[in-house]
């Protein structure tokens, strides 16, 4: 560690229909998303296998955001419900694995909701900043 302040690394798994579209909308509207965010665009939040989230932490993330469509608005009908269910079960194993469950969040974002996305990302960045770096066992 250098003496500099901790900047959390957040990996965002963004569904291309809503969350990623909202990120584009943020760009067009000149709404800044925190530079802590690294986005992985995926077709659907229902594609985010629990392994992806664990792999993000193993690869150096301090927080993970899974963002899909709003409830009832999934482009594939119910992929966001799959993501929701997986998140509920995944959270039960995070603490024993040494990952604070507050570091992982799943949200639905409207395709035009740039402000909402910016708010969600900033909030997660601040939460993770407060928690500090994800401890690594290497």
């Amino acid at each position: 560690m250098t003496g500099t302040e901790f900047e959390p690394k957040i990996v965002g798994f963004f569904c291309q229909w809503c969350a990623d579209a909202a990120a584009d909308a943020a760009g067009r509207a000149r709404i800044a998303l925190p530079p802590n965010l690294r986005v992985v665009r995926i077709m659907c939040s229902g594609r985010v296998a629990p392994e992806f989230i664990l792999q993000a932490f193993a690869a150096g993330a301090d927080g993970v955001l899974v963002a899909g469509c709003l409830d009832g608005n999934c482009h594939y009908k119910n992929g966001n419900v799959t993501a929701l269910k997986r998140m509920a079960v995944l959270k039960t194993v995070l603490t024993p694995l040494g990952i604070d469950s507050e570091r992982v969040r799943r949200v639905g974002i409207g395709a035009d909701d740039a402000k909402g996305l910016a708010r969600v990302v900033s909030d997660l960045v601040e939460t993770v900043r407060r928690l500090g770096p994800q401890p690594r066992s290497e």
């Binding site: 193993a58 929701l84 997986r86 039960t92 024993p96």
Partner: protein, 316 residues
């Protein structure tokens, strides 16, 4: 022509895998007809110093059971690797850490403290040291690694024989196929390549989709011994576990706990179990989902029961 040479060795494990060799029964005699067992400390008088002078690659097949927990085990694993043409990781501990791998939830210092200082039946004593000086001698013990690791974190492993322990039929098949040069591609797991579910005697009763409002524990319900466990709300890891065990637990009316490890190309068995169980939940309200998930006792210990040491987060 000299007979091929076979060796067996026991690292960090309970010894059940050694039992699985003894359970070969009369086939063990067939094995001794077919090959020379040159090193098998639990059954024969064998000295480590007899292993060292053997030429490299002079042992045809070695079955190594147990994971690697301390430096002596690591040394033996490396030595056996050097002496052997084919290394088979025998049992789920060697393959993925097994039950001893659950120590990974706590780390070396915590488990030593617990085992040597906190257990109520102990008089508080010191922790084991790598070196102890007595009046007469300096005594050395192999020191524990920070974490237990599967065999393939220490040496190259050619084949995996899963199970806790592997059933004798699979042990026999692996040994004789190895002697006959009939093993599949290197790196293969010597069991089924489909999920246990597919070979489950209860498969016919498993509906296409399962809708669960809650998970039950075994003691809470009187379950139908002929119907799919999952469909009755009882957690069974069959869909996420490799088949090949003969569904012995299922036949004994107990749900699968995953001792055959994951299927091919799975990077984290616990994550597969998470995804599998999540799809069964018939609920969309986040809070209610959390409540259902909270009904699983010791979820991490259950989903990773045999594979924590090989998991994405804990493998090192």
């Amino acid at each position: 022509m000299p007979k091929p040479k076979v060796a067996m060795y026991w690292l960090a494990g309970c010894g059940g895998c050694e039992e699985s060799i003894l359970d070969l029964g009369v086939d063990l005699l067939a094995l001794t007809d077919r090959a020379d067992i040159v090193f098998w400390p639990i059954a024969m008088d064998a000295k480590y110093r007899e292993l060292d002078p053997l030429p490299d690659n002079s042992i045809d097949v070695v079955l190594i059971n147990g994971a690697v927990r301390d430096e002596a085990q690591e040394r033996m694993a490396r030595l056996l690797r050097r002496k052997s043409k084919t290394v088979i990781a025998h049992g789920i501990c060697a393959q993925a850490g097994g039950v001893p791998g659950l120590a990974g939830f706590h780390g070396r210092d915590k488990i030593l403290q617990r085992a040597y200082q906190e257990v109520p039946s102990l008089e508080s004593g010191g922790l084991p040291q790598a070196e102890t000086q007595t009046d007469h001698a300096r005594l050395r013990l192999p020191s524990l690694r920070e974490s237990l690791v599967p065999l393939d974190r220490v040496i190259a492993v050619d084949y995996y024989l899963p199970g806790c322990p592997p059933p004798p039929e699979l042990v026999k098949e692996a040994l004789f196929n190895a002697l006959d040069g009939e093993l599949p591609e290197r790196g293969s797991v010597l069991a089924e390549s489909v999920a246990l579910c597919r070979t489950c005697p209860r498969l016919a009763s498993k509906p296409d989709t399962i809708h669960l409002k809650r998970f039950h524990r075994l003691y809470e319900v009187r379950w139908d011994p002929d119907r799919c466990f999952l469909e009755q709300g009882l957690i069974c890891l069959g869909p996420a576990t490799r088949g090949g065990c003969g569904a012995q637990c299922l036949k004994a009316n107990m749900p699968c706990r995953g001792c055959f490890g994951p299927l091919d190309n799975v990077s984290d068995m616990g994550a597969r179990v998470v995804a599998m169980l999540a799809t069964l939940l018939d609920e969309t309200d986040p809070e209610k989902l959390e409540n259902i998930a909270a009904g699983v006792p010791d979820p991490a210990g259950l989903f990773y029961r045999y594979t924590l040491a090989a998991s994405i987060i804990k493998r090192r």
